[in-house]
């Protein structure tokens, strides 16, 4: 078996509260394009990071070209000729293409070791030519390049490091169709040179276009590895989704029959983010918005909450047209947003649990004129703590010291104290363990029962099916369908979530 480039043998990895990978074994043939697919959280990125040493495996062996490799720190990957190209690039925007490619290992000449710029530009151009990227000028600054061009620079950098194995993490996520096909030409060129490519993608059609083999991961386990010629699209989807729903969702709360519409958006647009999005939300309804990363759902949430300006479109709250140009206004109209990134938008992590819990409610409820009613503040915070059973040692503890699940509950709590009518939850269970997830689902149900309208955004389709009364699926900035969770499957959602725009 000398034709194997990379071999994962029984790789396991766990994070606090999650088993990210369980005994994963994959063999990757030399000069193959090998696709790794799976839902969000299936363990794809974790495995790739382990391959280059950005993460340390708990157990298991990695073999590179038949030899057992000691990959234990981020620089070890390069040492064995493995490069990982991230979704976020590691290029310096103010330097040019050649400077980036040779960053940290500049070529020098002469006694005084002056940089040999000529040689560096020449070598850069040679590599770019070999990638058939004749149009990319090695003197261009990175900040002036398109996303696709940056990707090529990363690939060129990997080649200049003599990488024999290149891993691409969702390389096409931000590319146009044309750029994608250009990238695929580059990948085919790599194959001809004997370079092995690992390719992570959500877009199944791409896998059938470019890959030789596909490995499917689900919940940290390898489900299968097969040549793409021997598998079809539906089989891939079935295996990605599986029958894995081990945790039980709490029974759904019945919606009241005669509940009225409390929130409505009509044809809202934002250039390059989403277009013609319209939907209604009823009192006590849990509306599931499903979509993959990059579908535009997060942008919709930010825009509704006044963190981004809409280009066109209208928002109605309880039948009245409103103009929301700031979160301040949004809160005034009874909206609340549980953001996708709670450390960035949800919490002031260096401040205490108490201050975080009461921050948005200070203005209308807790403070009289200018002064904070400290007694009332503590009373309300205690109510929220009790209701959501948030666990922490003291109210003066910094928010950053809480677990992910408890941090998330603090964010829920801070919004409950504003007594919202509409709660937008963007990926509310991301990065929290299974037990805390279940608690969040229960909270969502309780709030809906109380009459709060809930917009539940998620890229985990199983949870959307388990929690929502009604599901809208979004893809590439547009709503592609409405589904009834009772009569739908994850496969149905996935089909509409990855559907290309019909144009």
């Amino acid at each position: 078996m000398n034709d194997l480039a990379l071999e994962f043998i029984n790789i396991s990895k766990s994070f606090p509260g999650v088993q990210a990978l369980k005994d994963v074994s994959i063999q990757i043939k030399k000069a193959d394009v090998h696709a790794i697919v799976g839902e969000n959280g299936a363990g794809k990125s974790t495995l790739m990071k382990i391959a280059v040493g950005e993460l340390l495996r708990d157990t298991g062996i990695i073999k590179v070209f038949g030899q057992e490799a000691q990959i234990n720190s981020p620089s070890d990957g390069y040492h064995y000729g493995i490069s990982l190209i991230h979704q976020e690039f590691s290029l310096v925007p103010t330097l040019d293409v050649a400077q980036n490619i040779f960053l940290g290992r500049e070529l020098t000449r002469g006694l005084l070791s002056f940089m040999d710029s000529n040689l560096m530009y020449k070598q850069t151009e040679k590599i770019l030519d070999s990638l058939k990227m004749f149009h990319l000028d090695s003197h261009l600054k990175i900040r002036d390049l398109t996303v696709a061009q940056k990707q090529v620079v990363e690939i060129a950098k990997a080649l200049s490091l003599n990488s024999k194995i290149i891993i691409m993490d969702e390389p096409t996520a931000a590319l146009t169709l044309e750029e994608t096909s250009r990238l695929f030409e580059v990948v085919r060129g790599l194959k001809d040179k004997g370079v092995t490519t690992l390719f992570i993608s959500h877009r199944l059609e791409e896998i059938f276009e470019i890959a030789d083999k596909v490995s499917i991961l689900r919940d940290g386990e390898l489900i299968l590895t097969k040549p793409v010629a021997q598998i079809d699209r539906n089989q891939v989807i079935n295996n990605m989704v599986g029958r894995s729903l081990e945790f039980i969702f709490p029974p759904k709360v019945k919606q009241k029959e005669e509940s009225k519409v409390i929130f409505e958006v009509k044809k809202i647009n934002k250039e390059r983010q989403f277009s013609d999005v319209s939907f209604q939300l009823k009192e006590g309804e849990i509306l599931g918005l499903a979509g993959l990363v990059g579908s535009g759902l997060s942008e919709v949430a930010l825009a509704i909450f006044g963190l981004n300006r809409l280009d066109t479109g209208e928002i109605y709250i309880e039948g009245e047209k409103v103009d929301i140009n700031s979160p301040f206004k949004a809160i005034e109209h009874g909206l609340a947003l549980l953001p996708e990134d709670r450390r960035e938008l949800g919490l002031v992590i260096v401040r205490s649990v108490l201050e975080n819990l009461t921050l948005p409610a200070l203005y209308r409820d807790i403070a009289r004129k200018y002064f904070i009613d400290l007694k009332r503040e503590l009373l309300l915070a205690k109510e929220a703590q009790k209701e959501l059973s948030i666990r922490f040692a003291s109210f003066s503890q910094k928010a950053e010291s809480l677990s992910g699940g408890n941090q998330q509950k603090v964010v829920v709590g801070k919004w409950l104290l504003t007594r919202p009518k509409i709660l937008i939850m963007n990926e509310p269970t991301r990065g929290i363990d299974v037990g805390a997830k279940l608690e969040i689902y229960n909270i969502v149900n309780t709030l809906a029962q109380r009459g709060i309208g809930i917009i539940f955004i998620s890229s985990e389709f199983s949870e959307i099916l388990g929690i929502a009364h009604r599901i809208l699926v979004m893809s590439e900035g547009r709503i592609t369908t409405e589904l009834d969770p009772e009569n739908s499957t994850e496969e149905d959602i996935l089909k509409f979530a990855i559907r290309k725009k019909v144009s």
Partner: protein, 310 residues
């Protein structure tokens, strides 16, 4: 666990221990140092830096920096003194305070509306206000101030110099604002994470403008106190004071990136600066060396504070 608590203690109270150490050290080295009269002198000297440092605390807690306080102080002092010559004490002081506040607010508006980093915006104001002072005074001190104006900088209530009392009043007011009002909470939240603060419905621009206005107001006040002390408004007043004020805040343990810090730390920091000045003078250390010592003290203090973290 014990070790952790010890580190936490050092981080929280290290600066206070440092202050006590300094006082003890100087007391041993010079018998004139730890006397009531000298302590009152130290406090009066400290009050100038303390006013500025309190304002600077608001700005830094909000994740900004104000380099213009020394220049704004000079400009406000000069204009206040100028108005006072004809308009009387009341309008003179009012003019000084109003100008300081306005220049501070202007800083805040430039930072939030034009989205210019506070370092650069206030660096520009530092030049503008100093230039304005020179233009207004024609480079000469403004003298001939009403004799009763002397009270502000040189007066006593009982045996206590008035600037010390003023310093305590300002400190208590600022403490109340930071700890007990909505605005104070907003300053911490905005400095800790401006995006999360905005997403919590806080009008973060107003918060930032207000912190700079407070810093400007206190610069104006310092300008008036200094003019009263010197019985004249000097065009070169307050040069380099911004650095003393920043040093006091940082010595006091406030995070230079905002969101974390206590006002009492700032006061202790200001005292450390004041005591270093006074003590080294008593030991006849040349003012050239004093600068070096001050710099080293700042390095040591910040190193100790950081070692306490994790």
């Amino acid at each position: 666990m014990k070790n952790l608590q010890f580190k936490d203690m050092i981080r929280r109270y290290g600066i206070l221990i440092g202050l006590i150490g300094l006082i003890t050290g100087f007391s041993v080295l010079s018998e004139r140092f730890f006397t009531i009269s000298n302590m009152l002198i130290v406090m009066r000297q400290t009050s100038i830096v303390a006013f500025l440092a309190v304002g600077m605390s608001f700005v830094i807690l909000g994740a900004g920096i104000d380099l213009s306080v020394g220049s704004v102080l000079a400009f406000s002092g000069a204009v206040g003194a100028g108005v006072m010559q004809n308009g009387g004490i009341f309008f003179g002081i009012l003019a000084g305070l109003a100008l300081g506040t306005a220049l501070g607010a202007f800083n805040g508006i430039v930072i939030t509306k034009l989205k210019i980093p506070s370092f650069i915006a206030t660096l520009a104001m530092m030049a503008i206000a100093r230039g304005g002072t020179l233009v207004y005074t024609d480079g000469r001190p403004i003298t001939g101030l009403p004799s009763s104006f002397a009270f502000l900088g040189r007066g006593y209530i009982g045996n206590v110099p008035f600037p010390i009392i003023l310093m305590l009043i300002i400190f208590i007011l600022a403490y109340i604002v930071l700890k007990l009002t909505r605005f104070g909470r907003y300053v911490y939240a905005t400095g800790g994470n401006i995006n999360a603060a905005r997403a919590s419905g806080i009008k973060v621009n107003n918060v930032i403008i207000s912190t700079f206005a407070i810093s400007g107001f206190l610069s104006g006040l310092t300008g008036m106190v200094l003019a009263s002390r010197l019985n004249s408004a000097q065009p070169t007043a307050g040069m380099g004071y911004e650095l003393d004020a920043i040093a006091a805040v940082v010595l006091g343990g406030t995070n230079l990136f905002g969101g974390e810090g206590e006002l009492w730390g700032t006061l202790v920091g200001a005292f450390i600066m004041g005591i270093l000045n006074n003590g080294l003078n008593m030991l006849n250390v040349s003012s050239f060396y004093q600068q070096v010592v001050k710099g080293i003290v700042i390095l040591i203090a910040v190193t100790v504070a950081q070692s306490g973290k994790k």
